[in-house]
C-alpha cells in the first residue's frame, strides 16, 4: 500500500510517473524484481499476441487459406456452428437461442431485488424455465424432435451446468438439512449420501453411469445417455452444495430457531422462514464457487463421447481437413470456458455487494 492509497487521495495524472516509481522502483531490489516481471510478461505475452492476433489468419474457408505460423481462426470460423450447437439441426437452432434468452431472463429475474415472495417465486421461475427449455430443446408437442445425441458444443455445456445445478441446489439444501436433522435415520441417510458422492471422483461416476448402467439395466429399459451423465454429475455437485449450505446453517445461532419455535412455528416454518433465508445468503459465495467448478467439470462428459464444448473441439481435430489445429481448438474452448467462469464470478461479486447495501 502506498501513502496515497492509505490516505485515500486520488492522485492526479501528473503524479503518475512518481507513483510508478514509488510503487515499483522504490528500492534496488524492488526495481530488479519489477524489471524481471516485466521481462517475463513480455516474453510470454508477445508471442501469444503475435500467434493469436498479429500473424493469425481470419479470412477464408479452408486450411489452404492459412499460411505462415500464426493461428488459423478460419478453422474456428468453419466449425463455429458445431462449437456452439453440436449437431443440432441448423433450422432448429433458434430454439436453443430462445432457451438461452429465457435462461438469462430467469437468472436476472430471480436475483431482482423487487421480486415478491422470493422463497416461492425463485423455485417457480426455475421450474417453469426447465419445463419450457426441455420442451424447446428436445421438441415434441408441435416442435420437431431433436435427439440428445445431436446436442453438443457450448449449448450442451450450458445445458449440463444449468440442469445439474438446478437439480443439485434443492437436493443439496435438503441434504444439508438432513445432515442437521435430529432424526437419526434421516441424518444417517443424508450423511452417507453426501460422503459417498463427495468421495467418488466425478470421472468415475460418469464412467459408471455411461458404461455399467446399461449393462445391468433390464432389457428394454433405456435411459438417455445424456440424462445418465447429467444425474451422475448432479449427485456429486449436490453433495458439495450440501456442505456449502451446511456451513451457512451452522453460522445461524441456535437461538434463532429456538425463538422461532417459541413463537409457535413448526420445523418447516422455522427452517423456511427464519433459518434457510439467512443460511443461503451466507453460503451464496461458496455455492457460486461450486457452480463455477461444475461448469468446468461438465467437460468430463467428453470421456464418454458426449460432445460438449471441449469434446466437439477435440472431435473436430479428426477431420482430415483440419488435422493439426490442436492449438486453435484448445485456445478457443479455453477462452470460452474462461469467459463464462469469469463472468459468473464477477456477477456473484456484484450480487454480494448489492446485498450488503440493501441490508
Amino acid at each position: 500500500m502506498t501513502a496515497a492509497g492509505t490516505l485515500g487521495v486520488r492522485p492526479v495524472r501528473a503524479s503518475l510517473l512518481r507513483r510508478i516509481k514509488a510503487d515499483y522502483f522504490a528500492t534496488p531490489l524492488n526495481a530488479v524484481v519489477s524489471l524481471l516481471c516485466i521481462a517475463a510478461i513480455i516474453a510470454i505475452v508477445v508471442p501469444i499476441v503475435r500467434w493469436a492476433l498479429i500473424d493469425a489468419h481470419f479470412a477464408g474457408t479452408t486450411r489452404a487459406d492459412c499460411t505462415g505460423s500464426g493461428a488459423c481462426w478460419v478453422f474456428v470460423k468453419a466449425r463455429f456452428g458445431q462449437f456452439m450447437y453440436g449437431f443440432y439441426p441448423p433450422a432448429e437452432r433458434w430454439r436453443v437461442n430462445l432457451a438461452a434468452v429465457l435462461m438469462i431472463a430467469a437468472a436476472v429475474l430471480s436475483f431482482w431485488p423487487g421480486l415478491p415472495r422470493r422463497a416461492l417465486a425463485v423455485p417457480l421461475i426455475w421450474a417453469g424455465f426447465l419445463v419450457i427449455a426441455t420442451w424447446l430443446l428436445s421438441g415434441g408437442a408441435g416442435l420437431t424432435r431433436v435427439e440428445t445425441r445431436q446436442w453438443g458444443g457450448l449449448m450442451l455445456t450450458v445445458f449440463l451446468s444449468v440442469y445439474a445445478g438446478a437439480l443439485a441446489v434443492p437436493l443439496g439444501i435438503l441434504l444439508a438439512l438432513g445432515r442437521q436433522s435430529e432424526l437419526p435415520v434421516i441424518r444417517l441417510v443424508a450423511t452417507i449420501f453426501i460422503e459417498f458422492w463427495r468421495g467418488v471422483p466425478i470421472i468415475t461416476v460418469i464412467f459408471l453411469a455411461s458404461l455399467l448402467l446399461p449393462l445391468v439395466m433390464p432389457a428394454g429399459w433405456d435411459i438417455d445417455r445424456l440424462v445418465r451423465a447429467l444425474v451422475g454429475l448432479a449427485f456429486v455437485i449436490a453433495a458439495y452444495m450440501a456442505e456449502a449450505v451446511r456451513g451457512g446453517l451452522q453460522a445461524i445461532p441456535k437461538g434463532q430457531a429456538e425463538a422461532a419455535s417459541a413463537q409457535g412455528l413448526g420445523y418447516w416454518q422455522t427452517t423456511g422462514l427464519v433459518v434457510l433465508p439467512q443460511a443461503l445468503r451466507i453460503s451464496m459465495p461458496a455455492m457460486t464457487n461450486e457452480f463455477i467448478a461444475l461448469v468446468k467439470n461438465t467437460s468430463l462428459v467428453s470421456i464418454v463421447s458426449i460432445f460438449d464444448l471441449l469434446g466437439i473441439a477435440q472431435a473436430s481435430l479428426a477431420d482430415p481437413a483440419w488435422v493439426g489445429m490442436n492449438m486453435e481448438a484448445y485456445a478457443f474452448a479455453g477462452t470460452v470456458y474462461w469467459l463464462i467462469c469469469f463472468g459468473l464470478s464477477r456477477w456473484s461479486r456484484h450480487l454480494e455487494a448489492g446485498r450488503k447495501t440493501t441490508h
Binding site: R79, F87, R149, V304
Partner: protein, 345 residues
C-alpha cells in the same frame, strides 16, 4: 421301443425337419425387425479418427468405417442416410455393443482371438488391414522396412511401436538406431525437423500425422507392415441372420470392386450385365436378398448410394482424400493385396 414311441419319435423328427426347412428359408432376426421398426440403423463408430470416422464441417459423419454403416443401412432400409451414429471411445465400444445400444460396431477394431472368445462378439470380416509401418522422406528411396538398415528411427519411449520395431530389426540382424522421445508428438516433430530418417506407427495413424508435417507431399508411408492388425465390423453373439447380413454387405462391397461394379455403372450393370455373379449380386437374377430377408436390390442400393470398396477407400482414406493412403495390403487379392471376398454363389 414300443410302436407308439417309435411313431412319436418319427413325428418329432419330421417336425424337426420341417422346422429346419423353415429355418433355412428365414430364421427370425430380432435385430433386423428392430431396425425396420425404428426406421434406422444404430451404428457405433469412433469418436474421431481422421479418414475413418469424423464429422465434417456440415456435421455429417464420414469416413471408411462410417461408409460401411451407410452401406448396411442402404441394404436393409434402402436409404444410406437412415443411420444414427453413436460415437464411442476405446472403453465404451464393447458395453455399447453388448448392451444393445448399437446394432453394429464399425470402429477400426482389431480382430483378435480373445475379443471374439471372451467378449461375446463376432467379427464379420475385414474392411481395413492395419499394421505398424514406417514413414520416410520420398527422396530417401526406402520402400520397405528392410531398406531402413543403418537408418535412425524416432519413437516414443516405452511404446508398443518401439518394442515392435526393435524386435523386428533385431530378428533380421539389421542395424538401426532407435531414438527415444518422451511423447509421440515429440518424436514426429523430431522426424519432421530432420533428426531421424523415419518414424513408426500404424498406417492409419501415420496417414493422419503426415498431414501435420511441413510438406506432406515429400513423405512416403510404406505399405509393407511389421505387425498384423486386421480390422472389421463387429456384432453381438446371437441373431445369426443379422450377422450374415453384415458379413455379406462387406463381401458385397469388395465383390463389387472385383467385378467392376461401381456407383456410376450399377444401373447399367443390373440391366445389361451378362456376368452371372454380377446379376445375382445386384438382384437381377436369383433371390439372394430374399434369402437374407432383405429386398432383392439390397446390394444394388448399397453400391448405388455408397459405392464399392475401392470408391469408399479412395474417397475416405485413399488418393481422393487428404490422407492419400496407398491401397497396399488393402488392394484386392487379384491386385497384389490381401483383401478378399467369398463368391456370391
Amino acid at each position: 421301443m414300443t410302436l407308439l414311441a417309435r411313431g412319436a419319435l418319427g413325428a418329432a423328427i419330421l417336425a424337426l425337419g420341417a422346422g429346419a426347412a423353415t429355418a433355412q428359408q428365414l430364421a427370425p432376426s430380432p435385430t433386423l425387425d428392430a431396425i425396420r421398426a425404428r426406421g434406422h440403423l444404430e451404428c457405433g463408430v469412433h469418436l474421431g479418427l481422421p479418414g475413418f470416422s469424423f464429422a465434417n464441417d456440415r456435421g455429417e459423419w464420414t469416413g471408411l468405417d462410417v461408409d460401411f454403416c451407410r452401406a448396411v443401412a442402404a441394404a436393409v432400409l434402402g436409404d444410406a442416410n437412415k443411420v444414427r451414429y453413436t460415437p464411442t471411445s476405446v472403453q465404451q465400444r464393447w458395453p455399447v455393443l453388448q448392451s444393445g445400444q448399437v446394432d453394429l460396431l464399425s470402429r477400426n477394431t482389431t480382430i483378435t482371438f480373445s475379443r471374439n472368445a471372451s467378449l461375446g462378439v463376432n467379427f464379420q470380416g475385414i474392411n481395413f488391414y492395419e499394421g505398424q509401418t514406417f514413414i520416410v522422406r520420398t527422396a530417401s528411396g526406402a520402400k520397405k522396412p528392410t531398406d531402413l538398415e543403418n537408418a535412425s528411427i524416432c519413437v516414443a519411449a516405452g511404446s508398443t511401436e518401439e518394442r515392435m520395431a526393435a524386435d523386428y530389426f533385431r530378428e533380421r540382424n539389421l542395424k538401426v538406431s532407435i531414438i527415444n522421445f518422451q511423447k509421440n508428438d515429440d518424436a514426429i516433430a523430431a522426424y519432421d525437423a530432420g533428426r531421424c530418417d523415419s518414424y513408426t506407427a500404424g498406417i492409419g495413424a501415420l496417414a493422419g500425422q503426415r498431414i501435420k508435417l511441413k510438406t506432406p507431399g515429400d513423405h512416403f508411408i510404406m505399405t509393407e507392415t511389421i505387425s498384423n492388425d486386421p480390422q472389421g465390423p463387429v456384432t453381438r453373439w446371437g441373431d445369426e441372420r443379422w450377422q450374415a447380413v453384415v458379413r455379406w454387405v462387406l463381401n458385397g462391397m469388395i465383390a463389387a470392386e472385383h467385378l467392376g461394379v461401381t456407383s456410376r455403372n450399377v444401373d447399367d450393370m443390373r440391366a445389361n450385365s451378362r456376368n452371372a455373379e454380377i446379376r445375382r449380386l445386384l438382384g437381377a437374377d436369383g433371390n439372394f436378398g430374399a434369402m437374407l430377408g432383405l429386398p432383392n436390390d439390397w446390394m444394388f442400393n448399397a453400391i448405388k448410394q455408397v459405392g464399392n470398396y475401392a470408391e469408399s477407400f479412395e474417397r475416405t482414406v485413399g488418393k481422393g482424400s487428404p490422407l492419400g493412403l496407398e491401397r497396399g495390403q488393402n488392394a484386392l487379392w487379384t491386385r497384389g493385396g490381401i483383401l478378399f471376398t467369398s463368391p456370391f454363389q
